[in-house]
Symmetry: C2
Subunit: 305 residues, 2 copies
């Protein structure tokens, strides 16, 4: 497995005081979550499609890689592709960073005309009809809030709700998920302004705003930004805004230059065992929790060669 920051993060599921101890620990522990993932055959990983991979580059050179989720929010994903291609985000900035909540970026201008082809008020893509049997790994993931059950579908964290005989799946506001800022309903946000979760999952936002993807690499370039001191974490002075150089889709880059990522397929036995192991930690742990929050499963993601 290619060593990436996120792979390191997975290995890091083990909590220990000193690295030497941690290393020894990892060796003693049979089938830790990271060992289970390391043993996954190549076919248990799916690529992040280049048309769904948005690379946001800050002016300081830092790259934030975002996977879009067109299955759940097709119109918002398409808007973001169109906005990126029109150069909308080039010269935009991160203008809001609220501790334990979100980092938000875009132009922050409500009156700036949107590029051709961008839908100003897309449908409210807050949940998707789903056959509950399609969701992977509902147990041992615990339920959360409004949701009867939580789990993963095609690599995405979802909460399942049944209403009037119909089950729907809402993407969950886990750490690093990316959503579309909006004003008052029925405004659903065009994608002109986006946010990423940088704290404990704000589940009260689920089904209230369109999640459209997640940061798969580089979230630390957002989570370490200075917190805004204005209301809701907005920077009080425009000079504090963190400028964005560009946002490009991988599919629009020459093939050789495209960053490539893979995520562990969540319909696999490996993912089931991995989540089980995350719910029932051994070794250093004295008492396993017996369950794991859907946002604490931490989907395995790696750079592909």
């Amino acid at each position: 497995m290619t060593k990436t920051p996120l792979a390191a993060l997975l290995a890091a599921a083990l909590f220990a005081l000193f690295p030497a101890q941690a290393q020894q620990q990892a060796q003693e522990q049979a089938q830790s979550p990271s060992e289970i993932v390391a043993a996954a055959p190549a076919e248990e990983w799916r690529p992040v499609e280049p048309q769904n991979l948005l690379i946001v580059r800050l002016a300081n050179g830092a790259a934030i890689h975002i996977e879009l989720a067109p299955y759940f929010a097709p119109r918002h994903a398409q808007n973001i592709r169109t906005l990126a291609r029109a150069g909308w985000y080039d010269g935009a900035s991160v203008y809001r960073v609220q501790d334990n909540y979100v980092a938000q970026w875009g132009t922050g201008e409500t009156d700036r005309p949107l590029p051709d082809g961008v839908e100003a008020v897309p449908a409210a893509e807050y949940a998707t009809i789903m056959d509950p049997d399609m969701a992977d790994l509902v147990a041992p993931v615990e339920q959360g809030g409004y949701a009867e059950r939580s789990g993963y579908f095609d690599g995405w964290p979802v909460g399942l709700v049944s209403e009037e005989g119909e089950t729907s799946a809402a993407l969950v506001h886990c750490y690093a998920m990316v959503g579309v800022g909006r004003g008052e309903a029925p405004d659903t946000g065009s994608g002109s302004d986006l946010y990423a979760v940088i704290g404990h999952a704000p589940r009260h936002l689920d089904r209230n705003i369109a999640l459209v993807g997640r940061v798969i690499d580089g979230i630390e370039h957002l989570s370490t930004l200075p917190r805004g001191t204005g209301p809701l974490g907005f920077y009080e002075d425009e000079a504090q805004n963190v400028p964005i150089a560009s946002a490009r889709l991988a599919v629009d880059m020459p093939e050789a230059d495209r960053p490539r990522f893979e995520v562990l397929r969540t319909e696999t036995e490996t993912f089931r065992r991995y989540a089980e192991a995350r719910a029932n930690r051994s070794g250093w742990f004295v008492r396993p929790a017996g369950a794991v929050d859907v946002c604490n499963v931490l989907l395995p993601i790696r750079r592909a060669s």
Copy 2:
């Protein structure tokens, strides 16, 4: 109510695209969580006791205020007081910052002799016997992991577990909670090295390590630190360590110089209504969640005059 960063954070529970809209929103919305808190009478707040208030000052001047939790971890809290008074943390550093997990500080030296009066291996204060009727506001907070119920006790987030006819309460690893680093069990950590949660609550650590308090002001000075690129988020080069100037108890300062904080009493009707409102957001929200994760209640904390 004095305007503090945390009070601002509470007001910020409302998620909106632009501050002007958010303000208008807050005015239109009847009995928002922050309005409920703002109306609380003085007696519904309890002071943070000066013997439980630890002020960690980074070399860059930033102050991190920590409330200790002696009810849950009396020996670890006492160790930390003794370590602070002996100057143990002065010249120590933050040497590990793992994204979406923890920031950890201390000396990182296992062989450095502990000051007189510090217990090297205190009892494992991972849970406390508790009459379940004593915990405040068990509903509508949803359950989490191992815990049958989660709620608050005297301002602290707890998970309740019944085993062999006995109920115990474990502090919960919510954002900003502070714990005591340890090596292999039966080591429980002396308090020489501490960590704070800077991401989604790692509930698998509950009952496996001693939580001993929480950051009540200044968590952003830890959450914005550069992430370590070594295994488990350790800084690879000692030069990256973030130096700590001092750690002092408020009780050891002249009265006039002591910082003062208050937390909303969780046994009050105000807190119950506040949590209800956090679970059932209105106004901007299209669909209330109907429940709130114990770590998303966000205990109201304010600076006292």
